[in-house]
Symmetry: C2
Subunit: 357 residues, 2 copies
């Protein structure tokens, strides 16, 4: 479980097919978990790569989106696995974005105390983040990833061509995690992004190897998140709370990556307040994010709810709220515990930041 983990980046369908068939030789029944987007856009290709064109594989499909990422869905999937006879020789392929990888990884890693699974991430977020590093999880009500574990897939197969069919909003949400990887650990990648004429799909596809590399390095040094891995939480303490808040607000929606982008503005402000980030750096980060993401409307009463939601964060110890802050661009500091007044200020900064219309 603790072995070195490296995803395979496969630039053509032939090598994806080879990588898949290598891992499915001598295995039993194949189960594919897909959401309705990937079932339409990615599944036919994967099935054509399986023995007998995937006729013997069992398809488990899901509604897309965070609502399906629950213990109730997990229970439904366990029952399907039982009904269709999944056993210790079976393999589950998680074909989708973060939700499919997190949920599928959780179900596979706990079904009969663990069946083998392979991640085939199909979104930017999953390719550079969710499918790497063995975190699995489901939500409990509006609290994100409250239940989960650390279990590595037997392989993560990244095929950037799958991104071609993604809606632009999804692409940009996932791009927030790339930005985070640059900000916490890769100044060169940040420069490359700032200097790119357009933040578009060709650029994003071209930087997936570097962006996933940042995460791979960190999780191989600290698999169970005792230390360095917490760097990856930059933008997520406030980001998760914003996400939970929106889950509680009927009619509104915010993708995980969008919440993280906004969280990174607020947490960069906290980094500045802690004396670790210059005013210029804060402005460069805030401007870049404001240029590519939509603002969030908050009233001050919601600030308190956000702080309340942060107190449930998995990273906390002894009722302190744990943050990762930037130490300049391209470096980061874990286990920071800013005052709640500063957090209020940071939310205020985020709320009033001028986003171009």
């Amino acid at each position: 479980m603790m072995n070195e983990h490296a995803p395979y980046i496969l630039t053509d369908s032939k090598s994806l097919e080879e990588a898949l068939s290598q891992r499915l030789t001598d295995k039993g029944r194949i189960f594919i978990l897909a959401d309705y987007n990937t079932a339409e856009h990615c599944l036919p290709m994967i099935q054509s790569m399986l023995p007998q064109d995937g006729k013997d594989c069992m398809l488990m499909d899901l509604a897309a989106g965070e609502d399906a990422k629950s213990l109730d869905t997990a229970m439904d999937l366990y029952r399907q696995l039982i009904t269709y006879g999944a056993d210790r020789s079976s393999v589950m392929i998680n074909l989708g974005g973060g939700m499919v990888c997190d949920l599928g990884g959780f179900v596979a890693s706990t079904y009969k105390r663990g069946m083998e699974f392979i991640h085939v991430p199909t979104t930017v977020l999953a390719q550079v983040d969710a499918a790497i590093g063995g975190k699995t999880g489901v939500n409990l009500g509006s609290l994100k990833n409250m239940v989960g574990n650390f279990t590595l897939p037997s392989a993560t197969l990244i095929y950037p061509e799958f991104l071609n069919t993604l809606p632009k909003r999804e692409v940009m949400a996932g791009f927030a995690e790339i930005l985070k990887h640059a900000l916490i650990a890769d100044h060169l990648l940040w420069t490359k992004i700032l200097e790119a004429p357009y933040i578009d799909l060709p650029l994003i596809k071209s930087i997936i190897p570097e962006a996933s590399h940042v995460k791979v390095g960190i999780v191989n040094r600290d698999f169970e998140e005792k230390g360095e891995r917490k760097k990856l939480n930059f933008g997520h303490t406030i980001g998760h709370a914003l996400e939970s808040l929106i889950l509680e607000s009927p009619g509104k929606n915010l993708l995980h990556g969008e919440a993280v982008a906004l969280g990174m503005i607020a947490e960069s402000y906290l980094s500045m307040k802690a004396g670790k980030l210059s005013d210029d750096e804060l402005k460069a980060i805030s401007d870049f994010i404001a240029q590519h993401y939509k603002p969030i409307e908050l009233d001050r009463m919601q600030f308190h709810r956000i702080i309340e939601l942060m107190s449930h964060d998995k990273k906390n110890k002894r009722s302190k709220v744990n943050f990762t802050l930037l130490n300049g661009i391209g470096d980061s500091l874990i286990d920071q515990e800013p005052d709640m007044e500063d957090v209020m200020e940071a939310l205020n900064y985020l709320e009033r930041y001028p986003f171009p219309a």
Copy 2:
């Protein structure tokens, strides 16, 4: 997670108190999971050993018995942990039998991707088996331990004096696992048991170290049950199926250990059929079990349901049913796949075996 695992056997309350306080120093809030039996008989002692007499610890209690070992209960426990602010510095103490250890271990190991937990087993079964080796699990309907993982507690503290308040039926059910450990790997222990004038609590308390030692050795050599650990499944393939069958039969009940005892008769028969156990050995085992356990009434139609239930066993691969059989008394063979006709014969042997009234 893969570290060497050894339980601590504590023969007086002073050393139990020391062992506990050593593991709770510098930790946050303590959560104790108990069933209503242990809440009455064991909890007061444990609480008196905690800082401030346990006034700050959070008690989560459960109905005793297998029914509570479900994902619904797990969900309820997650919610209690959230409500009372469990975080990464918190520790959960599982005070009880196999159900409490399996369920508590599962919940703790998956809450926020893992909080620390300590097993304090209070039954024979838990002291020699369930609390050792890191298997966690909950049932899915009548299917046992369908959902779970492998996660070691930070310590297993065995205090045999807790057994004093157990009903005799519970003691004898747990004793079946001791018998299993003797049969699969410790001929000397088998002889000691056979030669004992009485199978009573003093004898059982005296052999807990040897019986737990068998399990510790095996799980340290094969934590994830790739090979040798399957030896511990002797008696369990048929035993689990009998247990599931009884769960489906309103009004009847059968403890896990009782099911395993009966399973060991049937699986000893299979060992004899496979030419690995002599007729005399089979008779010695069957007589001993028949002398200490109650028979089960089965009709032939139920034999088929039992075989159907065995097909869901976690140990199976590719629709073969996997057994561990004895290779003489004190040795065992994993990955045996007897014919289903022989299994029918074995059930017939079990059903007709003369149990003294």
